[in-house]
């Protein structure tokens, strides 16, 4: 199926970035209308997947889109930046291009000669207050179109089209969903470290469209997305009572999750979005509870004199991973969603914390703490196959991009003097291969990122 659609040369290039076969999930993201320009390409999709570390990123050319400007050029730039950041593509320097903004069938020889394996072309038309964007993906060597789609949206929403095009390219060539049409919510930190102001902030995954969700009057921590990407759960110190709240990120309306006794913390939504799993501290012990969002009734999953925190559901909702000091120090445990069948899964050197289940279900990412070093790593849900992806003085809190290929987390640098000089807190991302670590730009110090699912519709 794949071979009939992609040329041997492009397939070869893809194989070189370590792709192998894998079943694919259906459905592409849509802004308002998707128009198939090539029915054959829409109907059949590649079945290829990344399993090992990459070697060579795929050379791809993304000239400015023709038609209405500046959007045509800007959309091409956003796509270029997205694909470059993924580490799996190598966008070719535009100064090497021999033709601009091809509208009809490109002159493929001029793209072959500069080494492009894939080519993205497009056209933007302004229709009143809306933009219509057509984009096509070409396999350069045989000169065939392998994807063609049109989107329309409100003009201020143009970046989303660029992200959706990026996801379409990523998915068509790599055989798994992208993660560009997503947002990141995190804690923005300012002021001296002993009097930090901590505000929730949200931005597109590339750092654009940044805005604050809370005003900093009370510290807010540990924001986590609802599967619908429109709501978050987090902990706020409002009125000096640290408890879990919910917020609609569009209206910024906050509601207390429930009037439970004592501190509630480390919330996360269930995969179906109908409940929140969290820790509640009563009598010095932190235990895990699930709160039903309709009835607001709680169900206790763990008990006993331990600190059970950072619970996270498996993507099928059947299991929960959390960290607990029940065995003497912080380690990872997996249990059934009803609290039964608890078993420890971390047995390496040091303490283990902040487990998160990959959206693909195949891995659990964690923070590992040893005396001098913190690390971000992944292991299988049974605890086997542990791999450390990044190590440093202080790093924690991994969060998966929706395709399970990339993690975001935060890094802190060590204070060099008694006034805390030299300290910083910054977001970073890294592939689950351990390659391609990059800073995620934020206006100020930042911690506690959570990566959203793909934005629906």
């Amino acid at each position: 199926m794949t071979k009939r659609l992609l040329s041997p040369a492009l397939l070869d290039a893809l194989e070189r970035i370590s792709l192998s076969r894998r079943a694919l999930l259906a459905a592409a993201p849509v802004v308002s209308t998707v128009l198939a320009l090539d029915a054959r390409a829409q109907a059949q999709r590649p079945v290829i997947d990344i399993t090992r570390a990459r070697t060579d990123p795929l050379p791809i050319a993304i000239p400015d889109f023709a038609g209405a400007q500046p959007w045509g050029a800007q959309i091409a730039q956003v796509i270029t930046a997205n694909l470059a950041r993924s580490g799996l593509f190598r966008p070719i320097d535009r100064r090497a291009f021999l033709q601009e903004s091809p509208e009809a069938t490109p002159r493929f020889a001029e793209w072959r000669v500069i080494g492009a394996q894939a080519l993205v072309t497009g056209r933007v038309d302004q229709q009143g207050d809306r933009l219509r964007v057509e984009f096509r993906l070409w396999d350069v060597l045989p000169g065939t179109q392998i994807q063609g789609t049109a989107y329309t949206t409100q003009i201020p929403n143009w970046r989303r089209i660029a992200h959706i095009c990026s996801d379409a390219i990523y998915e068509r060539l790599l055989g798994e969903k992208g993660y560009f049409d997503t947002r990141i919510v995190y804690v923005s930190e300012s002021g001296p470290r002993d009097r930090r102001i901590r505000r929730l902030a949200i931005m597109d995954q590339d750092g654009e469209n940044h805005r604050f969700l809370t005003d900093g009057a009370w510290a807010a921590l540990t924001p986590r997305f609802h599967p619908n990407t429109r709501e978050i759960a987090y902990m706020s110190y409002a009125r000096n009572e640290p408890r879990v709240y919910l917020m609609d990120v569009d209206t910024r309306r906050e509601t207390l999750l429930g009037n439970f006794p004592g501190m509630t913390l480390s919330p996360r939504f269930s995969p179906d979005g109908n409940s929140v799993i969290l820790s509640a501290i009563r009598g010095g012990d932190a235990n895990i509870f699930v709160v039903d969002l309709r009835t607001r009734r709680e169900r206790q999953l763990t008990s006993g004199p331990s600190l059970d925190v950072s619970p996270c559901f498996s993507p099928d909702g059947q299991k929960v991973v959390f960290n607990s000091d029940r065995g003497g120090d912080q380690q990872l445990y997996v249990m059934d969603a009803d609290g039964g069948n608890v078993r420890r899964i971390s047995f390496g050197q040091g303490r283990y914390a902040t487990p998160v289940w990959s959206p693909r279900g195949d891995l659990i990412a964690f923070t590992r703490l040893t005396r001098g070093t913190f690390a971000i790593g992944v292991m299988r849900p049974d605890g086997s196959g542990e791999r450390i992806l990044s190590e440093g003085w202080q790093m924690e809190g991994p969060t998966f991009a929706p395709n399970g290929r990339v993690l975001a987390f935060w890094r802190e640098t060590r204070a060099q003097d008694a006034r805390g000089g030299g300290y910083s807190a910054r977001l970073a991302s890294i592939d689950i291969t351990g390659f391609n670590e990059r800073a995620l730009p934020t206006p100020a110090d930042a911690s506690d990122p959570a990566w959203s699912p793909l934005i629906p519709g």
Binding site: D194, G284, A415
Partner: protein
């Protein structure tokens, strides 16, 4: 003339005492002097009793060397029966945020339970945890971390 001069000096001294409080920790002992802070205030607690106790790494039990501070706090709270306090639990930076929030709460609860066992009415003592997010000392070394693993009693 004299009183005009004295007022700003007294205010300065008070600010300095507050700023120093984290470094003095629970080591401060001794009876209040006639010219000292007003009895029953936070300043009195800091200067004459000790407002905080320290914990070992990843522990929340009251260390034997810290118990005398809580004994004095219990006696002080028995003397000043109108005073209500909140105990703030903290952790050092060598842990994860969520776990340290729980650990800080457990430390605050541990100190509260100790005071209750010494006869203080539990209704007068509330608790809150700031985890590792409000260090008293900004350094990044063992000495700083030892100062930051603490439960601080604050007059409300």
């Amino acid at each position: 003339m004299k009183t005009k001069l004295l007022a700003p000096i007294a205010a300065l001294a008070l600010v300095a005492a507050c700023a120093q409080a984290p470094d003095q920790g629970g080591a401060v002992t001794g009876a209040g002097q006639a010219t000292g802070p007003r009895p029953g205030t936070q300043e009195d607690l800091v200067a004459n009793v000790g407002d905080r106790v320290f914990f070992d790494f990843d522990r929340s039990d009251i260390r034997p060397d810290q118990a005398p501070t809580l004994d004095r706090q219990a006696a002080w709270l028995q003397t000043h029966r109108q005073v209500r306090v909140i105990i703030e639990g903290h952790a050092d930076e060598r842990g994860t945020r969520e776990y340290n929030l729980a650990l800080g709460q457990r430390r605050a609860d541990s100190a509260r339970n100790y005071l209750i066992a010494r006869g203080v009415d539990g209704a007068r003592i509330s608790t809150i945890s700031y985890g590792k997010d409000r260090p008293a000392v900004l350094g990044s070394n063992e000495e700083a971390w030892a100062q930051n693993r603490r439960a601080v009693t604050v007059v409300q």
